[in-house]
């Protein structure tokens, strides 16, 4: 690494189910303008840009070229990245790499999605293998539903346990003026919501959102000069397993386990529940809020419901998860992972306002996508 890197700016749109008042380029530009204002920078101070979204979601394939009027990348180096659900965290990690290499000093990354412009499931289907997987495990839901099913059976988890996760995130989302869904729900309401694919019900799963996010990464000298409290990138980790839904161990989340282990070893974290101060978890449905925090090492397998019911992961608890309301409240897919990074950065900077966790020293952001792939970025108040 040629230089240390920090996040010095974050901007996002007011996320909605549809934004007919703007086209995609204008939506992207809203987030870019917000991030530049947040960092008190102008476009000419940005050395390079990276943009990403989901393939097939808006029917625009060369998003990098098409969106230049929105990103402001005119006459700048610009790259498009897309990795499915992890697109947003891939963008953040790539922005970190750009600056850490020393080749660029200030890099703006943008993730966005206009889910309202296509059939989300139809678009996601195109990621499945056309010969052996596409007829069955198509779209976002079935893979998650069998994961939940296997996990419930293995550890005696109930649907009510999962509902408590939705209750937490929807309560947190009410504190976030940018969140798409801002009304709290009860365990009963989750349980009574329509069954989609057993055991996953409508209120267990994330919405489809129109929105964009932009994050600005800077090298150490610039970060110290430009930001009163930068959010320093401590470490990142990435784990991919298979692309096929038929070759995954659904009782464990191996990619989170591997990514977390690498991160904890690097920093010397032994008790993540005590040592982390906040987590923005890419949690596309409620059951992930149980199984995946076990994979993160917050408790032994099967014991996460106790943490949920005891309020350990609520605001005011020992380790708040998703103060922003998380993916359950807002899911503009290409932006979703970047929102986790941006929200974690706000927590470290102490600028998360109504959703601020007090005294955040270490904030973890995660990404999820593909066939159970995991990304992580650990942010801290001091450079590593």
């Amino acid at each position: 690494m040629a230089q240390r890197v920090a996040i010095i700016g974050f901007g996002q749109t007011r996320h909605r189910s549809r934004r007919d008042d703007v086209n995609g380029v204008e939506l992207i530009q809203e987030a870019v303008r917000a991030a530049l204002e947040d960092a008190d920078l102008t476009l000419d101070q940005i050395d390079a840009m990276i943009i990403g979204n989901m393939d097939h979601f808006e029917g625009v394939n060369y998003v990098d070229t098409w969106s230049v009027d929105g990103t402001g990348a005119y006459m700048k180096p610009l790259l498009k990245l897309t990795t499915g659900g992890t697109t947003g965290t891939t963008l953040g990690i790539a922005g970190y790499h750009f600056v850490a290499s020393g080749l660029f000093d200030t890099v703006l990354v943008v993730g966005w999605e206009k889910n309202s412009e296509s059939d989300t499931t139809g678009a996601i289907i195109t990621c499945s293998d056309p010969i052996f997987d596409r007829f069955s495990f198509s779209g976002a839901l079935p893979g998650l539903a069998v994961e939940a099913s296997a996990y419930m059976k293995a550890y005696g988890i109930t649907q009510e346990d999962a509902a408590r996760v939705t209750v937490r995130d929807r309560r947190h989302g009410a504190n976030n003026p940018y969140a798409h869904l801002r009304t709290p729900v009860t365990v009963e309401e989750v349980m009574n919501s329509p069954m989609l694919s057993w055991p996953v019900k409508l209120l267990d799963i994330c919405p489809r959102t129109d929105g964009a996010a932009a994050v600005i990464f800077a090298g150490e000298r610039k970060a110290r000069r430009l930001a009163p409290q930068p959010a320093w990138v401590i470490a990142t980790s990435v784990r991919h397993d298979y692309a096929y839904f038929h070759d995954i161990d659904y009782t464990r989340m191996h990619t989170i386990e591997g990514a977390a282990k690498e991160l904890y070893q690097y920093v010397g974290i032994k008790e993540p529940l005590k040592e982390l101060d906040v987590i923005e978890l890419y949690q596309p449905y409620s059951f992930a809020g149980l199984k995946w925090i076990e994979a993160l090492g917050l408790c032994p397998p099967g014991e996460s419901p106790r943490l949920l019911w005891d309020g350990v992961t609520d605001m005011g608890g020992e380790l708040p998860i998703n103060p922003s309301g998380g993916v359950i409240c807002t899911n503009c897919i290409g932006a979703t992972g970047l929102l986790r990074i941006g929200e974690a950065a706000l927590q470290v900077m102490g600028r998360a306002e109504g959703r601020q966790v007090p005294n955040v020293n270490l904030a973890l952001a995660t990404g999820f996508g593909g066939a159970f792939w995991s990304d992580m970025m650990l942010l801290g108040r001091r450079p590593w």
């Binding site: 549809r18 007919d20 086209n23 204008e26 476009l43 309202s116 059939d119 139809g122 678009a123 195109t126």
Partner: protein
């Protein structure tokens, strides 16, 4: 051992899309449809006038303001299309041009009509020909094409 057979799957991806034009583009297109008027947007900082319109300047990010333009301009560059594809507009001869409207700083891509290709040259003065009101549907092709215009009053 029987002769191996290569299995080939055929697929067809049919995806419905909708694209929100946005408030800025919607004003431009409805003015085209309802009044045969062409509007541009002007950046208060760099003073560039852009057609089609931009809500904010792509270079300065400043909020732009509306400016009505005359439906005429001059030819920047062009090509005469000799092959045929089903997405092409049914026009003979088929000529694509970049037209700079009077007062605009960006070109507008459109079709050229009522002109012999041999007479085309950069700088040729052009005017917009609109479709009949009942045929206009809020689309950039509510302008049928641009044709050479007579210069009068000189």
């Amino acid at each position: 051992m029987p002769e191996e057979e290569a299995v080939i799957y055929r697929g067809r991806i049919r995806m419905p899309y909708t694209w929100a034009v946005g408030e800025t583009g919607s004003f431009f297109l409805t003015q085209l449809r309802d009044h045969a008027r062409i509007w541009g947007t002007r950046c208060p900082q760099c003073r560039r006038t852009m057609v089609p319109p931009r809500r904010n300047c792509p270079r300065c990010l400043a909020k732009t303001h509306w400016l009505q333009l005359e439906p005429r301009g001059s030819l920047v560059t062009y090509t005469v299309v000799h092959y045929r594809h089903r997405i092409h507009p049914p026009q003979e001869p088929l000529i694509y041009g970049v037209i700079k409207l009077e007062g605009a700083d960006t070109g507008l891509t459109h079709l050229l009509g009522e002109v012999d290709p041999a007479d085309l040259r950069p700088g040729l003065l052009l005017e917009a020909v609109f479709k009949e009101p009942e045929q206009r549907r809020g689309h950039i092709l509510d302008i049928l094409y641009f044709r050479p215009r007579e210069v009068t009053g000189s």
